[in-house]
Structure formats: structure tokens, C-alpha cells
């Protein structure tokens, strides 16, 4: 046994050394001048059902570039809507009917023509499956002729225009639920050439694409864990890799860091109700927490912690503080209603509410209840772990104990309405406010996990839903402001998206779209190109349209 253990130990040490050697060593590989090797899928994750928009490909809290398919609308760098398939769109005065006209010259990669029927089919199918875009307000989509689609809604929804960016269009004639994900047919700038599950996918340029043709003829995207992605950068195997913020201070020769502000905000839900043993939502989850159910606790945490310190520490400085859960880039953003880091005031609020440390253990109590809050985070998310752990230290200064627990979503789901949970939110669609605060969806899926019940918030949401898009933004802002007077979330900050980019690659920083939660970098692939980087600042770019027909 003695020998066995020694041998086992030696094997383990050797294995670690070998892995390290493999990870650190090796040379770089060359590829053709218009080929790109990347490792940048959102969240580093592979789509479970393949590249099927009906199963959520190209959507993650907001529409993201599906590459293989087209969408009706897209967003530009200013977060305004621009036409993709659509030539124009309009909404009825009550925001219950939307009419979209599409272009006539679009073909799927199998040669068939893309018509209004395909659009209507895609939307109805996506609603039926309910795995991607939130189409809950849509009743049905109907084709009128070859180029016009009419969307009828169940209720007024001025945010529905956002949904026109969310669904990639698939061909009705050849769509098969079971196989489409592996063999997607679309009309986007690229077509899928190969998908090696668990390893990579390879895209080839769609030469029939109707829009601006991207520079890269071929894109290979690897699915790697963050440490392997970083190792690939060190080896020079990839041109661009998404890395976690904790790696962002590293320097690698031949690469530079590019980081983008996102609207992807991290916040901890604080159950607003007391635990009375009641259940909520279709999952019949118990809800409420006797500590966070006291508004004083929620307020004290919100004004007492130091967000700047959390962002600098847990997010390695790559992020922006958020007091409201609405990132500054969004049209319905508003100024922070309070300052944080007010430890003394937070303590006074707790004292006044009767939370006092009577037994000298550094944690306050009230009526025999200890001010202790479990905060669950997903074990796989390193930045959420760091936030939960550092938040616990911040809260202990106030006499509130936060107990971090790393779990899988399967373990978090049954208790998500009872404990603090570290969430990621962030959509370019103001409908997010509904998901966060609307009492009518409380406890449904991940909606309103804190079970906020405020009729003023609900009323503001209803008003915004029937206002025109531009004036609705101030109402959305109001809804969020009313909700946040009750501190249902302990908002912390937005997380930057950080990439190691080869010095030979220009990813056109100025045209990047805003990053929603789970957003990816492909939104401006049309503007990416290789640059000859031998002279300083030379923009010796090759013209995409010249290099290939």
C-alpha cells in the first residue's frame, strides 16, 4: 500500500508536469491569409442543439449574430436598429400588430428563395419551442404575399421590435427539428462546413450573401476551456481568444488585449418577502427569506458595500460599477440614486431596524434570527465566485454574514426564491425589466427571483408597453427606479468582455455592438481583417471584395 501511494503520487506529479509542458510548449501553426482561427463562443460554450435558431442559436438575452442565418433587423454600434432582411417595418398605434417587409433577393444556401413564409414559419416555430427569444406576447406570425409578414400580438408590446433581431430565419421547406442543428441552412454571411462536437466548428463564407461580404473566407472556432484557450494564445494557435477577466493582465508576445464594456450586469437577488412556507411559480418553489425579507437589511447592504473595490478586485478592474442593474449604454439608464460605501449609515439603518449584535460574534441578530444570508453562485463561473466571496467580506463589516455556496443550476433552482443568488442580466431589450421586477411573472423560471410585489412597478411596465419605443424608455427607467427603491437586487457591476487578439488582426473596435449577457464578438465580423503590422499604425488592409469574388 505504501508503494502504491508513492507510485500514485509520482504519477500525479508527472501528469501535472506533462500537462503543464504541453500547455506551455509547442510552436505556432500557420494558416491561409483569409482564414481565421478563433476561440470566442459566448461563455465558451458549444450550442447543445447545434446551430438552430429555433433552439436558441443566435440568441442570449438579446439577439446575437447567428452568422449562418439572417435576422429581420440587426443592431449597430449605437444600439439602433438597422435592416437586415427587412426593408421597412411598422407597428400599429396600439402596438398589437407589427408589419415587416423583407427584401426580394435573398436565397438560402440550398438555392431556394427566402420568402415571408419562411419568416412566419421561423417565428411560429420559435414560439412553439420557446427555447430562445421571448415571444410570449406574440400570437402568431402570418405571411402576406412573398415579402410581407404580419405579427399579431396578444397584448400591446412596444418592445416587440427587439424581437425582430432575435430569431434567425430557417427555410420552412427543408427544416427538420432533429437534424437542422447539425446541417443548418441559412442565408447569413457564412455557412457551416464542419462541426466536430466538443472540439470546433468551421464556417465558410457564403458567396451569395446579399449584404457586405466579410473578409474572412473561413472561420475555425475552437471550443476550449479558458486555460486551454489561454495556452492556445501562448502557442500562437489562434488569432483571437476570449479569456476570463482574471487572465486579462497577462501579456503574450504578438497579442494584445482588447476589452469591451458590456451591459452584462452581475447582481445578487435578495428575496423581498418573508418566509411563510408559501410556494410560487409553476415549479412550486418555496419563497422568502426572513433576513432579506427585512428592507433594512437590503438597504444596508446596497449602501454599505464598496462596489468600486469589488469591481477592482473580483473583476480584476475589468468592469463598471452598477447601482441600478441598467448599464449606462442603454437608453433607459439613470443616475445612481445613492452613494455606496456608507458603512456608518448602513450600520445606523440596521441598528434602527433592531438588528443588533447581542452575543458579540460580530453578526447581528433580531428576535433570535441571525443576519446570515446564503448566497449561491454557479460553480463554473469564476467571476461570480470571486464576487460572492469578496461580497461576504464587505458584508461582514456591516455585521451581516454572507455564506457563499458554489452549486450547479440544478441545485440552485429549488432554492432560487429563498436565498441570494448571483445572477447575470443584460439585454438590449427593455423587456428585461419585466423579467427582473414584474410581480405577474414572479418565480416563473428565472423571472423576478426575488418575488418583488409592487403594483406601481407593474403599472409602469404596462404604460411602457403601449408607448412608442422612444418615449417608452423613460417609463422603463421609471419602472426600474421604483423597483430599486426596495433594493430587490444587490447590483454590483457590469463585466467587461476581454479578448487576446493577434497583432495581425483588426477587429474594428469602433463598430462593435454592445455586449448583452452571453453576448459574442461576431456582431461586426464584416469589418474584421488582417493587417500588416510591421510598421506602426499602418492600415495596410486588404480589400475583402478584391481578394475573392
Amino acid at each position: 500500500m505504501n508503494k502504491k501511494i508513492i507510485i500514485g503520487g509520482v504519477i500525479a506529479v508527472v501528469a501535472i508536469i506533462v500537462i503543464a509542458a504541453v500547455a506551455l510548449g509547442g510552436g505556432s501553426s500557420e494558416h491561409a491569409p483569409d482564414e481565421l482561427v478563433a476561440c470566442v463562443a459566448a461563455h465558451g460554450e458549444e450550442p447543445e442543439f447545434g446551430f438552430d435558431p429555433m433552439h436558441g442559436w443566435g440568441y442570449h438575452d438579446s439577439g446575437t449574430e447567428p452568422l449562418i442565418q439572417s435576422t429581420l433587423l440587426k443592431r449597430d454600434a449605437n444600439n439602433s436598429f438597422v435592416n437586415d432582411l427587412a426593408t421597412d417595418y411598422s407597428a400599429s398605434d396600439d402596438y398589437k400588430t407589427y408589419t415587416v417587409n423583407i427584401r426580394d433577393d435573398v436565397k438560402f444556401t440550398d438555392g431556394s428563395k427566402l420568402t415571408a413564409k419562411d419568416v412566419a414559419f421561423s417565428y411560429n416555430k420559435a414560439k412553439e419551442l420557446g427555447e430562445g427569444a421571448d415571444l410570449s406576447s406574440m400570437k402568431e406570425a402570418k405571411a402576406k404575399g412573398n415579402n410581407e409578414i404580419v405579427f399579431t400580438l396578444d397584448k400591446s408590446d412596444s418592445t416587440f421590435v427587439n424581437k425582430l433581431t432575435d430569431v434567425g430565419i430557417v427555410p420552412e421547406a427543408s427544416y427538420d427539428n432533429a437534424t437542422y442543428g447539425q446541417n443548418p441552412i441559412g442565408s447569413g454571411p457564412y455557412k457551416l462546413a464542419q462541426w466536430d462536437k466538443g472540439q470546433q466548428f468551421i464556417l465558410e463564407r457564403n458567396n451569395q450573401y446579399y449584404g457586405k461580404k466579410p473578409y474572412f473566407r473561413k472561420i475555425t472556432n475552437l471550443f476550449l476551456d479558458s486555460d486551454a484557450a489561454y495556452a492556445a494564445v501562448k502557442n500562437g494557435d489562434v488569432d483571437i481568444a476570449e479569456i476570463p477577466v482574471s487572465y486579462a493582465n497577462e501579456t503574450v508576445k504578438g497579442y494584445h488585449l482588447e476589452y469591451f464594456d458590456s451591459i452584462d450586469v452581475r447582481g445578487i437577488s435578495l428575496p423581498t418577502q418573508k418566509d411563510t412556507g408559501k410556494v410560487i411559480g409553476p415549479d412550486k418553489n418555496p419563497y422568502g427569506n426572513n433576513v432579506t425579507g427585512d428592507p433594512a437589511i437590503r438597504e444596508a447592504l446596497s449602501i454599505g458595500i464598496n462596489r468600486e473595490k469589488l469591481v477592482d478586485g473580483a473583476l480584476n478592474g475589468f468592469g463598471n460599477v452598477s447601482y441600478t442593474g441598467v448599464a449606462n449604454q442603454l437608453a433607459w439608464a439613470y443616475d445612481a440614486p445613492y452613494k455606496d460605501g456608507q458603512v456608518d449609515q448602513a450600520k445606523a439603518i440596521l441598528d434602527e431596524a433592531g438588528w443588533k449584535d447581542t452575543n458579540g460574534d460580530g453578526i447581528r441578530e433580531k428576535n433570535g434570527v441571525k443576519a446570515s444570508i446564503p448566497v449561491y453562485y454557479t460553480s463554473s463561473a469564476v467571476e461570480r465566485q470571486a464576487l460572492a466571496v469578496s461580497l461576504a467580506e464587505e458584508a461582514s463589516k456591516l455585521g451581516i454574514e454572507i455564506v457563499p455556496e458554489g452549486k450547479s443550476w440544478d441545485d440552485i433552482d429549488p432554492v432560487r426564491n429563498q436565498v441570494g443568488v448571483v445572477w447575470g442580466f443584460g439585454s438590449a431589450d427593455p423587456n428585461e425589466i419585466v423579467h427582473q421586477y414584474d410581480s405577474r411573472v414572479a418565480g416563473e423560471g428565472y423571472d423576478n427571483p426575488e418575488v418583488l410585489n409592487d403594483s406601481a412597478v407593474d403599472a409602469a411596465i404596462d404604460t411602457a408597453m403601449s408607448q412608442d419605443t422612444d418615449s417608452s424608455y423613460s417609463t422603463w427607467s421609471q419602472a426600474s427606479q421604483i423597483a430599486n427603491t426596495e433594493y430587490p437586487f444587490l447590483w454590483i457591476g457590469t463585466v467587461d468582455y476581454t479578448y487576446m487578439v493577434s497583432d495581425h488582426l483588426d477587429i474594428s473596435k469602433s463598430t462593435h455592438l454592445i455586449y448583452p449577457h452571453g453576448g459574442d464578438i461576431w456582431g461586426n465580423i464584416y469589418d474584421w481583417r488582417y493587417v500588416n503590422n510591421t510598421s506602426t499604425n499602418a492600415t495596410n488592409t486588404t480589400n475583402a471584395t478584391n481578394s475573392t469574388a
Binding site: M1, N2, I5, I6, G8, G9, A12, V13, I16, I19, A20, A23, L24, D225, S226, D227, A228, Y230, A231, K234, S246, Y247, E250, D312, G313, A314, N316, S379, V382, Q385, A386, A388, V389, S390, E393, P404, E405, G406, K407, D411
Partner: protein, 282 residues
């Protein structure tokens, strides 16, 4: 183990064998107790993002991790956690082993049942069994302890069963039987005292196994939260930072784990030497 091992040579060669063995046990035991007590006294290892990812220095002799936490404290805390889990698991598995061994001796149907159970558990890979049990029992430290306990009784049971069977054939047991003593009385008065040393040594020898398996399952992500300082978690976390050149995150905790396991093995071997009459002459 007929040869004198390295730890019985050199400095203490003036002592006789028994004294040396006792000294070895006492010293290794002391080291483990110190690690254990220090670990339980470390309750809070503060993060400090100003000092993250620092290589070993005199301030942080094992370096710091990505949250600026001192790796020495984390390692000690992790080891003491391993010792607690190992202790719980090996005691429970010895109890299981003893009960099963006596059950096997009571009649031939139960004996074949226990043999079947031993074969069954021996045929399933340990790590798989541990993972299944730990998930079934709701993960966490409790799940890990139970999982390790329920998978490590096999070897000891086999030894004890053989031992009990042998004692059962002896004349004084037959005599007690004839005198009308109950099976329970015989087990308590005749058999248990004779196998006590086996149980004791067996428990200690399960210990290193238990610790190794505890680190393996926490390494694989079963059991504890990823911010908690279990050795397995520390080691699996270190994998992500090896590419950044942070060798100290894996090296020191790994080495410390190896040393603790070796210490337990030394105690076990020496105890066996003391308690087992067949090895007393070595």
C-alpha cells in the same frame, strides 16, 4: 517490510527497535495533530486582490492565489479538512467492516452474502462508487465522508472475516459453544479482543486511502463549493493557472498532501509492527 526503513535509522539508532517505533509514531502523530489543530483554528482566509498570484516569498511562503489568499493557510486548512473527512470515513468503514465480519461468522448463508457483497463492491471502481454515493447523499462534506466510508470497508472486511473464521475453528471457541455460551458472548469475549489490533491498524491504513480519494472527488468537483479550501479543489483550481506560470498553486498543496498521506502510512505500518504478533520480531 523486513528491512529497517529509512526513518528508523540514523539519529535515533541508539534507541532500541520498540522505542524507535514508538518515537516514530509519536512524532508523526504530533505533526498530524499540529496540522489538524492549526487548520481548525484558521477560520477566515481574507482575500486581498492587491497581492494576487504572487510567487512564494517570506511573506507568503506558499505564494498566493488569484484572489490574493495565502496558499499556506489554505493548504493547512485543506489538509485539516482532509484529516477530518479521512477520520470520519475510516472510523465508519472500520465499523462497517467489523459488523460485516461478525455477521459472516454467524452462519453460512450470511457468510456467502457478505462474500458476495465484498466481491460486488470490489468489482466497482472506487472513484465511480464514491461519486455515485456522494451525489445520492446530497454532496457536501457529509456526502464525501459517507461515500469514502462506504467504499473503503472491503479490504478490512476480507481480512477480518478470514481472521474470525480462523478463530471460530479454535478449540476454546468450540469449548465455549459446548458450555452453552451464546454466539454473542463468544464474539465479545473470545473473538473481538483478538482482532482488535487488526481493526485498529486497518482503520489507520484506510486513512491515507480515504484522504487520497477525498482529494480526488473534490478535484473532480463533487462535494464542496469551489471557494472552500479542500486540497482537491485547490489542485483542480491550480490547473487553470498553470498556463500562466503559477506553479506554486499546484506544487506545495500537492506535496503537502503527499507528505500527510505518507505520515499516516508510517504510523499505520509502525503500529502494525507493534501490535501484530507475527511482525513483532521484525
Amino acid at each position: 517490510m523486513s528491512e529497517n526503513p529509512w526513518y528508523n535509522k540514523g539519529l535515533f539508532s541508539s534507541l532500541n527497535l520498540r522505542e524507535k517505533t514508538l518515537l516514530t509514531i509519536a512524532l508523526t502523530g504530533l505533526v498530524l495533530v499540529v496540522i489538524f489543530i492549526c487548520g481548525t483554528m484558521i477560520n477566515n482566509i481574507p482575500t486581498n486582490f492587491d497581492t494576487k498570484m504572487q510567487a512564494p516569498s517570506f511573506v507568503h511562503i506558499f505564494g498566493t492565489d488569484w484572489m490574493g489568499r495565502d496558499m499556506f493557510f489554505r493548504t493547512i486548512k485543506g489538509l485539516s479538512l482532509s484529516i477530518i473527512i479521512g477520520l470520519g470515513a475510516s472510523i465508519i468503514s472500520s465499523i462497517i467492516a467489523t459488523i460485516l465480519a461478525f455477521l459472516a461468522s454467524s452462519n453460512k448463508y450470511l457468510d456467502s452474502f457478505v462474500s458476495w457483497l465484498i466481491d460486488l463492491f470490489a468489482s466497482i471502481p472506487h472513484i465511480l462508487l464514491i461519486m455515485m454515493i456522494s451525489i445520492a447523499l446530497g454532496k457536501g462534506a457529509f456526502g464525501v465522508i459517507m461515500a469514502v466510508a462506504f467504499s473503503h470497508w472491503v479490504n478490512l472486511t476480507r481480512v477480518l472475516r478470514a481472521e474470525v473464521l480462523q478463530i471460530n475453528t479454535s478449540e476454546y471457541v468450540a469449548l465455549s459453544n459446548k458450555f452453552g455460551k451464546s454466539k454473542f458472548w463468544i464474539a465479545k469475549e473470545h473473538i473481538l479482543p483478538l482482532i482488535l489490533s487488526q481493526i485498529f491498524v486497518g482503520t489507520l491504513l484506510v486513512f491515507p486511502h480515504a484522504i487520497m480519494h477525498e482529494s480526488s472527488v473534490t478535484f473532480l468537483g463533487f462535494g464542496l463549493s469551489p471557494h472552500e479550501p479542500a486540497i482537491g479543489i485547490i489542485l483542480s483550481e491550480s490547473m487553470s493557472y498553470l498556463a500562466m506560470g503559477a506553479w506554486w498553486l499546484a506544487f506545495f498543496p500537492g506535496l503537502a498532501l503527499l507528505i500527510v498521506v505518507l505520515l499516516f502510512d508510517i504510523i499505520g505500518d509502525n503500529l502494525k509492527r507493534l501490535l501484530d504478533p507475527r511482525e513483532a520480531n521484525n
